[in-house]
Subunit: 334 residues, 2 copies
DNA sequence: ATTATATTTGCACACGTTTGTATTTTCTGA
DNA sequence: TCAGAAAATACAAACGTGTGCAAATATAAT
């Protein structure tokens, strides 16, 4: 319970004014080299640590960045978090990660917390049911820099890092059509989110463009899970007209689909083509290897950080949108 | 860039002293109901947000908890983080997650940051090469409550939440022996970490206890990866005496082992029994299903939080160690 | 030695809150 | 109506830093 040592303690001990100590610690040229060394060595010896609350209160600086994601333990977000943490740390920033649990209310609470603590900036991927945008507006009102990534809030002007969901989905749909698949189903999330809406539109526009008759987009409102994936397959497979290919928006859904396909002895890719967003860890051991659409977490993290840093440093470039291209890794499932 | 509204702004506007506003906002009974309502409605209308830096500077309260893990995107840690975030948030605390990247230096930096920002407490699972413990000692010197989970620092007195690694590994080793396996290999991490050392000891003691001749513990110093898993299998399988079972400490290692076993047409469980720590997502689609030892992330998170809260509230119970039992889910791989 | 100048240090206030104490206002009862 | 109590409010200091400005000290130039 050792009371913490402050700048004034050092000053008293060394018979100088605390302002001199303050300057010495920050290598201000105005302080004599001799006294500076004295201060520094005393500080080191007594393990002085600056009190950031005081610094921030005074409004001088702040190096804490908040990161809000729907789910920390979702592999895409976990990867982005991990990369972002490293990038920021290396640049002298500290990242605090918050989880909205896909809930608007929680996201709002988090943002209040962020404002109260005076974070230097915020990077966010929005919750599923976060349609209202008042909380983001509040953030801007308080002058806190804001950057969106992946799932963005479209009626807020702020830098955004997005994935080329429309193009990539259009592209794989076209690929499937040209491979001869004619009844391609698409499983994705709620259209309220740009990510899933864009994928859906990419899919639908391509289907229309090539005059394919079968068009079937399933929107999952709940969290993606293996269980839901099973249900989706069952639903598709019990319909009068079965699909001959599926584009899935999530690894969990895909796993569920595979479970049921196996149970019914549906052959992939002969009877059913399959492409999924996300990376399949099980591809290492599972036959056939599934074609995946992989997001570039590192690039996304880097872009988001760079954009935020630009605003923090007043290189005003709001309303910029940076697109990171996803990559299709073609394998044996189609 | 709207300057943020403060307690004094409200006071000036309402012609009262700012101390009255302060009390009103915190529902102090000493302030008249009428003026309190006035203050509250004004604050609400102008979206007043308290400045936590000022509050913390004054030393009143603090609701920020730091969480340090080696890797955010490791599924075990991601799960613990996710649970912990929810538990804490519900109790009015805010969690900041930091990633040490398995590096002592980074862990140390993080702890300095935590001290500088006056966090209310710290929950940590230590980095692989974090043998020195001076940084944790520093934390205690500054009076910041500390709790370890999973990977603990043994020469620091602090509450710890651990998994029964010794017992569970001993138990599955015995299980394998009684099933008739006689050349059981064990793949794990560096003995510098309690988690892996305990598993190794549990394995070795059991092998000795039953007078089994074959005893082979491989310690991986690097990060666990599928690639390393492949190498481990190759090494084991090219030895003069091949194992007939493997206990693996990580899903990634196990995946690598499976890849090579498949390539060489090694039959599981006939030619090779297999048990792994961690949960295998691919079990849903892969035959045979692998027997897993699953850690209870939710219980671990809850226990860690409870212990921390106890110290924060001065229910002094340092030096307590709580054990959370892992669960073996027996499947077809042995 | 005496100015003039450069270097170093000290002073005082500010940041936004909280809280013990003093002061003012309101209420009560005779 | 007035003293006294109770309620409400105001005052002031403190938390740890940073910074413009003044003061003091050292150095240089004549």
């Amino acid at each position: 319970m050792n009371k913490r040592i402050t700048i004034k303690d050092i000053a008293r001990e060394l018979n100088v004014h605390h302002s001199t100590v303050s300057r010495a610690l920050r290598n201000d040229p105005r302080v004599n080299e001799k006294t500076r060394d004295l201060v520094l060595s005393y500080a080191r010896e007594h393990e002085y640590q600056i009190n950031m609350n005081a610094v921030q209160l005074r409004g001088t600086s702040n190096n804490a960045i908040a990161l809000i994601v729907p789910n920390i333990n979702h592999s895409f977000f976990a990867d982005v978090i991990s990369r972002l943490t490293d990038i920021a740390f290396q640049k002298g920033y500290v990242i605090s990660v918050f989880q909205s649990n896909e809930k608007y209310e929680q996201e709002k609470e988090i943002i209040n917390t962020i404002i109260k603590h005076n974070f230097a900036g915020v990077i966010v991927s929005i919750a599923k049911d976060s349609q209202k945008s008042d909380h983001f507006r509040l953030l801007k009102k308080f002058g806190i820099p804001l950057v969106f990534f992946d799932r963005v809030c479209e009626d807020i002007i702020a830098p955004k890092v997005i994935v080329n969901n429309y193009d990539i989905t259009a592209s794989v749909t076209e690929y499937l059509i040209k491979k001869g698949y004619s009844r391609i189903a698409h499983v994705t999330g709620t259209s309220a989110i740009n990510v899933f809406r864009n994928r859906k539109e990419g899919y639908q526009d391509t289907i229309s463009k090539f005059n394919v008759e079968y068009k079937n987009s399933i929107e999952i409102q709940n969290d993606f899970s293996i269980e839901i994936g099973k249900q989706v397959f069952d639903e598709l497979w019990s319909a009068s007209e079965k699909p001959d290919a599926i584009i899935s928006s999530s690894v969990n859904l895909t796993l569920g689909i595979l479970v049921q396909a196996n149970r019914l002895n549906v052959k992939i890719p002969e009877q059913l083509g399959l492409i999924t967003f996300g990376s399949m860890q099980s591809n290492e051991i599972y036959q056939p290897h599934i074609t995946t659409i992989e997001q570039q977490e590192t690039e996304i993290a880097q872009a988001a950080f760079d954009l935020l840093e630009d605003i923090i440093e007043n290189k005003n470039n709001e309303s910029i949108t940076k697109e990171i291209k996803a990559q299709v890794i073609f394998r044996e499932s189609c």
